[in-house]
Amino acid sequence: MIAETGLAALYLAAALALLQLAVTAIPALADKAVATARPIALAQGLLTCISFLCLVLVFIRTDLSVTLVAANSHSAKPFIYRFAGAWGNHEGSMLLWVTVLALSGALLALLSRRMPERMLSAALGAQAALALGFYAFLLIASNPFARLNPAPAEGQGLNPLLQDPGLAFHPPTLYLGYVGLSVAFSLAVGALITRDVGPVLARAMRPWVLGSWIFLTLGIVAGSYWAYYELGWGGWWFWDPVENASLMPWLAATALLHSVSVLAVRGGLRTWTMMLAVVAFSMSMVGTFLVRSGILTSVHAFAVDPTRGTFILALLLLYVGGALALFVWRAPAVGEGARFALVSREGALVINNLLLSVILAVVFLGTLYPLMVEAATGEKLSVGPPYFNAVAGPLGLLLVLLLVVGPLLRWRRHDAPITRKVVPAVLVGLATLVATVILAPDISLMTRVGLAAGMALIPASLMPLFGRSLRRTPLATWGMVLAHLGVAISVLGMASDAAFTRERLAAARPGERLEVGPWLIDFVSVTPVAGPNWTALEARLRASQGGGTKELHPQARVFTSPLTETSEVAIATTWNGQLYTVLGRQTGDRWQLRLWWKPFVTFIWFGGVLVALGGLIALAGRGWTNRRNRRRLQEAEL
């Protein structure tokens, strides 16, 4: 019954999307369009929520007559993972996708009071068009509510590897990001159709871009940390196609965020902003396609299905092609932006966007290269970290260096000498450089520059706060400062991890002592332990670096049903880094132990969280400022 309700709600939502499109597209209905479209969009959002709720319910109750539940769940699964299992599969996550899409449309309809009606109507129409394609995909090719007859006695989804909080909860965060960008896309399409690209549009678009970008940042940071502690390889980013699929929209969204600010504040970069708005959501769709079509092999990928892949490709071509064609047609008519000099904040932001776009392009090319080569020559090859680190690394560093100077430039034209404000950053950078040459002569050039640039960015990101009243500084500026500071800290973490990580791989007997970096590790014992559905061999390690000791218990674990072996990493965190330990196999009377000392590696994710927090402060700040201004306006009118 519940499954059928969910399916019915989905069909209804699709019908409403069609109606929404019709109402906003038919010229004869133009003046009633927004008034009618608003409630329709709200209803659509509500219906998809109901549908998703139904799916969650059948999972929680382990209704094995639903094929999806039978294939992906199990009655013995803990509640939290039965719940999260609803989206831990292709169909369920696609339903989540569509739910977020519809909810974004509803929010757009609800919250946009100050946009010109024609623009809002066109945007709602575009959003409905997007939704229609994905409803069709769900209902035709990926029905989450299909029934299974006869219902099996038990489900098949008890894989312990998938029962992990990080794995369960980081996809929704990412979807809120990816799919939230659809609103920026729809607004851009709406603006291009109504030929109304300007600061008003930018001010309407900005909070959506900011919100989506915050979620994407958090999702990527969470995914990175999850892979780090779960895979047991000591790495935090693997340039896996699925990881790249989340990075590419983020790069586009970051560029869009900066571009839309220029458009909002200065009226410049109109064409560019429209293009980026289209590209950002396009990259979300490309990412969805890459992950679900099976054309790229990855440890993460969902079940392979070429027919579904073709469907998504068709949607992609329709939407992205359509938007790009619209862009070609209408962009020349977009008004001209305000002029600015090369040396100005606009200029720096243009260079920022160019750099981000180049990084996006090289990541895209690298991800697709194996496919292109195989199509052309039949040769099979793989492209991995050596390529991506070599091209993206230096570009990233260039961005950091740009960040040192950029926020300090004036709008339109920067005539005043910049030197005084930049001096602290340059001094810190040079000092770091010299320090690393003396204390760490063997590290690579890129890590050395990374350390110097990261350190230089710390004073540089705080510089915009100097010389002004801190109380009167808008929250948006605080947000920017915090976000840029987060970048500095993250870069420092990455450089430190690359330069100073120490590793020790050994086969040791209990009672022996190992050294890694400044740590002395006593390998105390290996004992069998057991959990609710697993047994393991657990090593007891006692680590000390001068002061107190820390105990670590890495495990080689075997889950009983289904039979799976995993390695449970043990991590000890201190203020200056992490000790990362892995237990391997037994060889004779010795045990394989792999130990890493990773100085300041936590800065990578901590910095990322600061970046997202900065964004949140900026978003909240603007919202608060807007409300306060509106109140003041109302008071003035009385």
């Binding site: 294939a71 071509l317 092609g321 049903s561 039979l563």
Partner: protein
């Protein structure tokens, strides 16, 4: 004019991407290795019994006039656990199933059958995958529909899931 051309570049890139994607979708990588033996006679083999109290499996038993399902599995194989209830259901519907256990130990096989059910008539032990390789099977689990004359009619790579049951039953019917 030059402006318009520049604006069209992203469209060209999209077209190029679509071309590559379509190529790959239409010629998927051969991650599913099909047996070259579909339509050919089951290769001759004779294996020792996997369990002391159960009959073994030989190729001769597949030419007794009625189709049988040959299931290649192992106790250490995770997807085999997922497949077990489906095999039980197939047996309940009258499908006769013979099994070959790959690189397995009697005690583990016995424990597996105890825990997940035993739909098999006979179980042969293939300790070094030799017979598995002659069947053109590249992994576990895999199942073969063999008709009454000993010809391989259909190969199912991977576990037989509930949604595949209909196909397998249809192939068994066709093999009659």
């Amino acid at each position: 004019m030059k402006g318009r051309l520049l604006l069209a570049v992203p469209l060209l890139l999209l077209a190029a991407f679509a071309g590559v994607a379509l190529w790959r979708l239409s010629s998927p990588p051969d991650t599913v290795i099909r047996s070259r033996l579909e339509g050919q006679t089951l290769p001759q083999f004779s294996l020792p019994a996997a369990l002391p109290d159960r009959p073994t499996v030989t190729s001769a038993e597949f030419a007794d006039g009625q189709p049988k399902l040959l299931n290649v599995f192992a106790s250490w194989c995770v997807p085999c656990i997922a497949e077990a209830p489906v095999l039980l259901e197939l047996k309940r519907r009258g499908v006769r199933i013979e099994a070959i256990a790959i690189r397995d130990r009697p005690e583990d096989i016995a424990a597996f059958l105890d825990r997940h059910g035993d739909p098999f008539l006979g179980i042969g032990s293939d300790l070094d995958s030799k017979v598995q390789m002659t069947l053109g099977s590249s992994g576990v689990p895999e199942s073969f529909v063999v008709d009454g004359r000993g010809t391989i009619r259909y190969q199912h790579v991977g576990p037989i899931m509930p949604q595949d049951m209909a196909t397998v039953l249809a192939e068994m019917e066709k093999a009659k």
